[in-house]
């Protein structure tokens, strides 16, 4: 048998080059959409790691929000706006919190795993809404970021620089997750989903494996939240921590499918475009279109948008 070639790394690299070139000519509104989409895609990448293990978290906005507020607080309280400091700090905070909560959450499965995450996120939401020092429900603004010490004078320049940085971060994160999925620990996802007993009797701790995946997904969600805060120049509980945001992340995870690390990026852009146009066409009932899209995906593309691409690609190969 000849193993099929893995096109992930060449595909991601080509995607990166295309996106960088496109960034120069794309209009501002589309750059905005891409920045927001990519920030969400990073959180979805983390959820995908969990989903491959058969776990779904309905509360990942918790880590999304932690990342966003870390960047915002560093800027507001300490005057730190350097992306190379604020973004890793956001990841560190999210992963540290994920590490400690992971000791509790790794003991649960199915709906309990999903809802426990949601419970944590609602606790954070409650705290943020009641904390006036953090702007309560209005939140507060995030200072203009700098990269390697250089800050943009013009808002438009800032957007394009952020876009390039974000493309680089997304590419790096996707490569790292891809590499992880090829490791023994990464490959345990399917094994754990199929049969936890066998994994234990092969000599590996299922709880440990899930813990690692959970911390990883928390770090990625924190990274996504940090990028979102920088993109929007604003943090507030409803846009970052509310349960609807967690639902949105799960929605995009299903829309994307677990087939590839590229899927969350494609799925996030598709979601953002659907939402943007749905809002434009049906401003008072845009949720109808989004809901109908989810139903269509569940019925006709249970493997997500990625499975459609894989099917088309596979068919082309067969025709050759």
């Amino acid at each position: 048998m000849t193993a099929s070639r893995d096109w992930t790394i060449p595909g991601l690299t080509i995607g990166l080059v295309v996106m960088l070139v496109a960034g120069v000519v794309l209009p501002d509104w589309l750059l905005n959409i891409l920045n927001i989409s990519f920030s969400r895609a990073l959180a979805v990448l983390g959820l995908m790691v969990l989903w491959r293990t058969g776990l779904i978290s309905f509360g990942h906005a918790f880590y999304y929000g932690l990342g966003a507020y870390t960047v915002a607080i560093l800027g507001k309280e300490l005057g730190v706006s350097e992306i190379l400091v604020t973004v890793p700090a956001a990841m560190l905070v999210a992963s540290t919190v994920g590490f400690f909560l992971g000791f509790i959450i790794r003991r649960y499965r199915d709906i309990f795993f999903a809802m426990l995450s949601l419970a944590f996120s609602m606790v954070l939401y409650g705290i943020l809404v009641k904390t006036e020092a953090l702007g309560s429900t209005d939140g507060f603004s995030v200072p203009t970021p700098s990269f390697l010490g250089f800050g943009a004078e013009e808002a438009a320049d800032n957007k394009i620089v952020l876009y390039f940085v974000l493309c680089g971060i997304g590419y790096g994160a996707a490569l790292l997750v891809h590499r992880y999925l090829q490791s023994t620990l990464g490959n345990l996802s399917t094994a754990i989903r199929d049969n936890e007993i066998r994994v234990e009797y092969l000599g590996y701790s299922v709880a440990h494996a899930i813990h690692v995946k959970y911390v990883m997904s928390a770090a990625l969600a924190g990274l996504g939240g940090a990028i979102l805060a920088i993109s929007l120049s604003q943090v507030d509980p409803d846009s970052m921590v509310n349960w609807t945001i967690s639902g949105e992340l799960v929605f995009v995870t299903i829309l994307s499918g677990p087939g590839s690390v590229a899927a969350p990026f494609i799925g996030s852009v598709v979601f953002e475009l659907i939402r943007t146009y749905a809002f434009e066409w049906l401003p008072h009932a845009w949720q109808l279109i989004v809901g109908a899209t989810l139903l269509a995906i569940i019925f006709f593309l249970p493997g997500g948008v990625w499975s459609l691409l894989a099917r088309i690609f596979g068919r082309k190969e067969g025709e050759r």
Partner: protein, 261 residues
């Protein structure tokens, strides 16, 4: 020579029900031991206690001089006691090859090496060798969910063997297998295990299998060992005949005895 595995007075109660009662047994290196008994006699409870799935209510289990009574299954596996299951425990959505590769990857993983590529030449070579040794090469790319029961059993046993255990416990390796297939399966398994020089304990209901493959029989009845002897003695022991083998086997033995006469 000191035993490789010892059960020292182990008991297991589930509420008012006693599943194992003061079980004392010592197993030597390279022995092949058959565990027999009627349903509910305590055979699988014994296997579950040795492999850490159940903790004894009292008593001690010692492996190579080390108390393993309170260890978790994965820790016991790492020490060198592995098992297969009555219902094969494999990864249903993976192919046979992927099942073995995953098992090999886990067995080779210590500390951060769990982050090494799983598809790497050393593991792939071992994987091919296992496919050949257990005679499942023809099913290499079949999903585990689509395998016949006999092949799934072989895969389960092959996966248990990837960690190169010192002791292997097989829980009813021929259950659900047709009469035609069972000796072929056992020949494959026992020949592979002999190559690995592993001590084997297996739970079995089929007395033909027991007579043919084991050197020692432990007969369980109501949680206790009522006979510990070579098969030639154990299978004619009156208590074993009465409580384990049952009337049908009696009659068959008698008929064979009359025919010989």
């Amino acid at each position: 020579m000191s035993p490789i595995l010892e059960a020292r007075g182990i008991s297991k109660n589930f509420g008012a029900v006693t599943a194992a009662k003061d079980v004392n047994v010592a197993i030597s290196q390279d022995e092949v031991v058959g565990i027999i008994g009627a349903n509910g006699a305590g055979k699988t409870t014994f296997v579950n206690m040795v492999t850490g799935y159940l903790k004894p209510t009292s008593g001690q289990i010692v492996f190579e001089g080390r108390d393993i009574t309170q260890l978790e299954p994965r820790q016991i596996t790492r020490l060198g006691i592995c098992r297969s299951f009555q219902v094969p425990q494999v990864f249903m959505t993976e192919t046979v090859y992927e099942n073995l590769l995953t098992a090999l990857g886990i067995a080779a993983a210590t500390g951060f090496s769990v982050l090494r590529y799983m598809k790497r030449p050393d593991l792939e070579t071992q994987c091919e060798a296992l496919l050949t040794r257990y005679g499942i090469g023809d099913y290499r790319d079949h999903l585990a969910s689509s395998l016949p029961q006999g092949v799934r059993k072989l895969l389960d046993i092959a996966m248990a063997m990837v960690a190169r255990p010192r002791i292997l416990l097989l829980d009813e390796p021929t259950s659900g297998i047709s009469t035609d297939e069972k000796f072929g399966l056992m020949d494959t398994v026992m020949s592979a295990l002999r190559e690995e020089k592993v001590t084997v304990l297996f739970v079995e209901h089929d007395m033909e299998i027991v007579e043919r493959y084991v050197g020692r029989v432990l007969a369980f009845y109501q949680g206790e060992i009522i006979c510990d002897a070579p098969p030639a003695e154990a299978l004619v022991d009156p208590k074993v005949k009465e409580f384990v083998i049952g009337e049908e086997h009696h009659r068959r033995d008698d008929a064979e005895g009359n025919a010989d006469a």
